[in-house]
Symmetry: C2
Subunit: 67 residues, 2 copies
Amino acid sequence: MTVYKVKGMTCAGCARAIERAIRKQVTGNPAVEVDLEKGEVQVGNDADPQIVNFAIEGLGYQVEAVR
Amino acid sequence: MTVYKVKGMTCAGCARAIERAIRKQVTGNPAVEVDLEKGEVQVGNDADPQIVNFAIEGLGYQVEAVR
């Protein structure tokens, strides 16, 4: 899994919105897991990081780090 | 403006995500205003309500009423 550190994701509604946007925009039905407390989104390695970034930032959240 | 009563929109992050999704998915650059306390999203009348619904529900929020 690739871990995206996301800023501004503060409630369960945010978490769900981000998960949905990634699933919709990234091809190949990637695994997505959100850890709200850590402010992290984990996405399957086969997902294109640029598309994942685009999906998250398109909703107004900021991707601070990818590892 | 058309008013969409939205369930599950609980923080500023949600509000921004919904606003962004509507702007991206509805053609014609509609006016969008979110009232977080009331749980309402106002969208310009020229916007297709089906597309607005689709944008909101696509993020996992529930549209309870349109007026």
